[in-house]
């Protein structure tokens, strides 16, 4: 007997059905609920990522799983259907060698039919979302790198054994729901640095010590803040007792590389804003201050040759008038949740009403795919503008 070619059975029989012909549709010999078979709806542009195995599912058992490509994060949404969706596998898959048990007109053997393996109750869809980076901040804050941390290898092993807040890249991608690119950006935004294989944020007091030392060395050696030679700066900091990694990190956090003409530049320039903001944070570390005394102390801390201006503190501080006095305290956008609902809830707890110029620095970093800044305001705030020529005020919905 001739074996029927594969085009007259399975999915091929349906997909290649010629005009004026027909194919019987049957229940597959392995027909069943097959709960392990999932249909995932995918944008055409993501198909190559899947086929080349660049896609991962990330999340802890208690979190809603997300799907990550190299650069983006997607939530997985389950969509049910009331239609009957028959799934027919190609002839090369789910073969059963079992002969049909009943040979009557109601049955067909698998060789001459297209057979339905499963009736799909629905599909999974992907919705692009912002990466869930709040958890990254939380994890790295468990155990920041401190100045008194002269870690010997033995201590490190012990800490690792005790699992006290040390995370390698591989641990982070297991725990944080973000794509690789988003995680790298998140680490950069937190000024994290990889030390002995672990991603750490460095305690601000320690950063303060290194920065002051760097500025001090610059004055001693007559270096210009806009043209710092990496090797010189780092070597002097090492001789002052700082680890090379941290010396380099200090340049990365407070400066940027100067674009060289040819080859790789090793000239750095300190970022005036970053340095000034750092000293404002230091000044406000112990709590709120009267504006005059804050300004006086802040200005005194600013290295000579740099110009601080109050605008630099957007998204860093809040001011309030109590009686005739203005007080200032630290309130950093970087310490707020990246989740819009939580962010607005914290902001309105802080102040029931916000003027746009005050609010904007605290929400401009929010990123919700598919929702504009206006959309965010519409969703989470109530806008009050008594007359056309007054400034609008935003309050909680």
């Amino acid at each position: 007997m001739e074996t029927p070619s594969s085009d007259c059975r399975g999915a091929e029989a349906v997909l290649n059905l010629q005009p004026n012909s027909s194919v019987p549709i049957t229940y597959h010999p392995l027909f069943g609920p097959h709960n392990d078979l999932i249909l995932l709806e995918l944008d055409q542009k993501l198909v190559p990522d899947i086929l080349h195995q660049r896609v991962t599912v990330r999340g802890q058992p208690d979190e809603d799983a997300v799907i990550c490509t190299e650069s983006k994060t997607y939530a997985i949404k389950s969509v049910g259907t009331s239609n009957s969706v028959f799934l027919i596998p190609p002839s090369c898959q789910f073969n059963s060698f079992e002969e049909p048990k009943c040979f009557d007109v109601n049955y067909h053997d698998q060789q001459s039919a297209a057979s339905v393996l499963k009736i799909a109750p629905g599909t999974m869809e992907l919705v692009e979302i912002a990466p869930r980076l709040d958890k990254l901040k939380l994890l790295l804050s468990e155990n920041p790198y401190r100045s008194d941390e002269d870690i010997e290898m033995g201590d490190l092993e012990e800490m690792e054994r005790e699992n006290v807040g040390l995370y390698k890249w591989d641990d982070l991608i297991e725990k944080v729901q973000a794509s690789n690119d988003e995680l790298r950006n998140g680490l950069q935004a937190l000024s994290a640095v990889e030390i002995d294989g672990y991603w750490r944020i460095v305690d601000e007091k320690y950063m303060d010590i290194i920065l002051r030392m760097l500025l001090h060395n610059a004055v001693l050696n007559d270096w210009s803040f806009t043209s710092l030679n990496e090797d010189e700066v780092v070597n002097v900091l090492i001789s002052d007792g700082f680890p090379r990694k941290l010396a380099n990190h200090c340049l990365c956090v407070f400066g940027s590389k100067v674009e060289g003409g040819a080859g790789i530049s090793n000239i750095w320039k300190l970022d005036e804003r970053k340095v000034c903001v750092h000293f404002a944070r230091e000044t406000l570390r112990d709590g709120k201050r009267k504006m005059e005394s804050f300004m006086e102390e802040w200005m005194r801390k600013i290295p000579e040759g740099m110009q601080a201006s109050f605008d630099m503190l957007e998204g860093e501080v809040l001011t309030e008038r109590i009686g005739i006095e203005t007080w200032i305290r630290a309130f950093r956008v970087s310490s707020l949740s990246g989740n819009p609902a939580e962010r607005f809830s914290i902001l309105f707890k802080e102040r029931p009403k916000w003027e746009w110029k005050d609010l904007q620095p605290f929400i401009r970093d929010l990123n919700v795919p598919g929702l504009s800044a206006e959309g965010l305001l519409l969703k989470y705030t109530r806008r009050l503008q008594p007359t056309m020529d007054t400034e609008p005020v935003f309050s909680s919905r």
Binding site: A11, V14, L15, L17, Q18, P19, N20, S21, S22, P24, I25, T26, Y27, H28, P29, F31, D36, L37, I38, L39, L40, E41, L42, Q44, V47, I50, L51, H52, Q53, V55, T56, V57, R58, G59, Q60, P61, I67, S82, N83, S84, V85, F86, L87, I88, P90, Q93, E98, P100, K101, C102, N106, Y107, H108, D109, Q110, A113, A114, S115, V116, I173
Partner: protein
């Protein structure tokens, strides 16, 4: 936890077929425990118009069309490996790029035996 979505088919992902119709196909009681290999119906492609299909289930005929999916569907297989700890694997085993959609109400065919009211309510295999 991170699960890499595996795919061993590369660019040659096997294409699955998908038929979609409104409502349910009900199996007559005498076949309910013997579904495997049971005939559901006959899918025909008349020559008249290019992407039209008919699907005859029992005494009813559905008319539908083959439509490309705007977004393809991947068929994923979730496999649990129970070793020292439970590991879940996801593997792409197929792709669906078209569906044959029957969205009209079934048309009753003139039948040999007069269907009873009960039978008319269900789409029964012939």
């Amino acid at each position: 936890m991170q699960i890499r979505v595996k795919c061993s088919c590369g660019e040659n992902c096997p294409e699955w077929a998908m038929l979609e119709l409104q409502g349910m196909v009900e199996v007559q009681p005498q076949f309910q425990d013997r579904l495997h290999n049971l005939k559901i119906g006959l899918l025909c492609r008349p020559s008249s118009s290019p992407e039209t299909y008919t699907f005859t289930v029992g005494y009813h005929e559905l008319t539908g069309t083959k439509v490309p999916l705007k977004k393809p569907l991947l068929v994923l297989n979730k496999a649990k490996h129970t070793g020292e700890d439970v590991r879940v694997e996801l593997e792409v085993i197929g792709i669906i790029r078209h569906r044959i959609l029957f969205k009209t109400r079934p048309k009753a065919l003139i039948s040999k035996t007069q269907p009873t009211l009960k039978e008319r309510a269900t789409l029964a295999p012939s």
